[in-house]
């Protein structure tokens, strides 16, 4: 394969998967460079799990090309399977095995030399904080431990690409923190593709986010990019009292695009909460404050609203639904 010097870890071009006539994945293309942590977001049934299964070679694609580290999944499934660690949705584990036995068995299947396997198992047990339960039977472990056994198994063979379908599902906040640190520690060494419903989770760990809806990519980029691109505006919230009638004019002098989005009721002290919005990404907080004070308005608080990934996600998926409703063949790229 005549790859460009920095060969991408995951390359998906025009991937389509149809189940009995229903398109689960509809012409998805994306590339993940080596060492990047990428988050896969989407509502239920958007095609996340299907895409991941195709990436691992577990399901065949209907059309399109997928390659992992330069190996095409369709023609060289064995080479691909040697290079991935995969944790499926719901993390299925055999119930009757002990944790260390399970890791040993999986290590042998993943072709780790017997001499190295023991120390490698110790390492991942340490990494995932599983030392205490290494001799316990998996069926008797709590959800959090089972999840971490799945993650330990995933990183066991030190594959260059790790694919995890909802790794933090069912974990408590403390365990989520551990998993997040764990994933962050893989940054640079391994390429990680994770899907999740917990959006702050993705936001904190991932370098880049892919939002997928109804089998199409609706938005792609870093969390900051997405905010700017999908929401396309900054919002401010100001609590002020005084002659608020002059406010729109005042705002116009700072930035022509700045306008009042909503105005709340006055409280006991006469302060109102006013929401402002603008298309200008620059921070205009200081200018707003100065303008208000110079007009004799009493300002109690001013803050710039930070749209969360949740807002981005909702906006992006809603936008794609609108697009589908208008025109079934509308292009999905945001």
């Amino acid at each position: 394969m005549s790859a460009l010097p920095p060969q991408p870890a995951i390359e998906v071009t025009h991937l389509v998967k149809a189940y009995a006539g229903v398109l689960a994945v509809n012409d998805i293309s994306f590339t993940v460079p080596k060492g990047e942590i990428i988050g896969f977001l989407g509502p239920n049934g958007a095609g996340k799990s299907t895409t991941m299964r195709i990436l691992t070679g577990y399901l065949p694609a209907t059309s399109g090309q997928v390659s992992i580290c330069g190996y095409a999944v369709a023609s060289e499934p064995d080479a691909v399977k040697r290079r991935i660690g995969y944790m499926p949705e719901n993390n299925p584990l055999p119930e009757e095995m002990r944790v260390s036995e399970y890791l040993y068995f999986r290590g042998r299947l993943k072709e780790i030399a017997r001499s190295k396997l023991g120390s490698r198992i110790d390492e991942v047990l340490e990494l995932c904080d599983l030392k205490r339960v290494r001799h316990k039977i998996i069926g008797k472990l709590s959800k959090g431990f089972r999840q971490r056994v799945g993650i330990a198994e995933c990183v066991l063979a030190e594959p260059p690409v790790i694919i995890m379908d909802e790794p933090t599902i069912g974990l408590d906040p403390h365990q989520i923190l551990i998993v997040r640190d764990l994933i962050a520690s893989l940054r640079g060494r391994m390429t990680v593709l994770i899907s999740s419903h917990i959006l702050p989770e993705i936001e904190m760990t991932c370098d880049r986010v892919l939002i997928i809806n109804q089998g199409r990519i609706v938005a792609e980029g870093t969390p900051e990019d997405l905010r700017r691109e999908v929401l396309g505006q900054s919002a401010y919230e100001i609590e002020a009292a005084g002659a608020l009638g002059s406010l729109p004019f005042l705002l116009g002098t700072i930035d022509p695009g700045l306008s009042v989005a909503s105005e709340g009721k006055a409280d006991a002290q006469g302060f109102r909460t006013i929401k402002l919005k603008t298309l200008n990404p620059e921070d205009a907080g200081e200018a707003i404050l100065r303008a208000c004070l110079s007009e004799g308005l009493r300002v109690r608080a001013l803050s710039r609203a930070h749209p969360t990934l949740e807002d981005v996600f909702l906006a992006a998926t809603r936008r794609s639904w609108d697009a589908v409703a208008e025109n079934p063949k509308a292009k999905g790229q945001g």
Binding site: T56, G57, Y58, R82, L93, E96
Partner: protein
């Protein structure tokens, strides 16, 4: 086939730590001991012209009917029900290796169960003191038959397990297949409408597949290569169908 041994040893271990195996083993030995005692009681009452071993092995189908489903119904059905087949097949392992590994483990255990009945013959030899009761021919022939036919029976059980996600459905399916193979074919051998000229090839095929006839031959010391071929080809076919069934179910999952 690099991973065959890994899967085989893992499966054997899993079978050995599972309480089900021991329940099956106890039930099996109790039944066989019961049959054996019954046979010996008959022999103590009157002189018979066949050796007790051939009478004992004649009832080979009883343990086959409950042991094969017990040993095999879980192997692929459970993997699919838990979803562990997904993690298994995303390692560099082929479906063939998985099916063969599971089949090998179930077959080894099946042989081990039958092997344990040799204790009954040992006890007989030790305490009966009558050389006529211990005729090595039928014993060797019986065990040979059991191990060769076991290849096919266990493969059928594995195939049944590949068909369903539900362990009990798989068990009942494999029981049905086995009954159809052993008694259904025997029944077909006796029906008169197959005697027509036009159906002669079918009649031949039915005669060829008479497992009871094979059993008679083996205990009489006749090892026919056509019979060996019947079991071997049947085994290969059942295993190929199991692999295809697992793969087809992935495509439509």
């Amino acid at each position: 086939m690099k991973h065959f041994l890994t899967i085989l040893s893992h499966e054997v271990r899993m079978l050995l730590v599972s309480p089900n195996t021991y329940i099956a083993a106890v039930a099996f030995l109790a039944l066989m001991g019961f049959i054996f005692t019954g046979i010996l009681e008959d022999y103590s009452k009157a002189v018979m012209d066949v050796s007790p071993a051939s009478v004992f092995f004649q009832l080979y189908y009883l343990p086959v009917f409950f042991m094969v489903p017990l040993l095999t119904s879980k192997c692929l059905a459970e993997e699919r029900r838990l979803g562990t087949i997904e993690t298994l097949l995303t390692t560099p392992v082929t479906t063939t290796e998985v099916v063969l590994g599971k089949y090998g483990a179930a077959y080894l255990l099946y042989i081990a169960f039958w092997g344990s009945t040799s204790g009954l013959f040992y006890i007989l030899k030790r305490f009966a003191g009558d050389a006529r009761l211990i005729d090595p021919g039928p014993i060797v022939g019986g065990y040979l038959f059991v191990s060769v036919s076991g290849l096919l029976f266990v493969a059928i059980g594995v195939f049944a397990s590949s068909l369903s996600k539900n362990q009990s459905v798989a068990g009942i399916l494999s029981l049905t297949f086995l009954v159809a193979l052993i008694f259904g074919v025997r029944y077909l051998g006796g029906v008169s409408w197959l005697d027509r000229e036009a159906l002669a090839p079918l009649k031949d095929a039915v005669q060829y597949a008479q497992i009871n006839q094979h059993f008679q031959d083996f205990t009489r010391g006749v090892v026919d290569t056509r019979e060996l071929l019947f079991y071997l080809s049947g085994t290969v076919l059942a295993l190929i169908f199991s692999v295809l069934s697992v793969e087809a179910k992935l495509l439509h999952s």
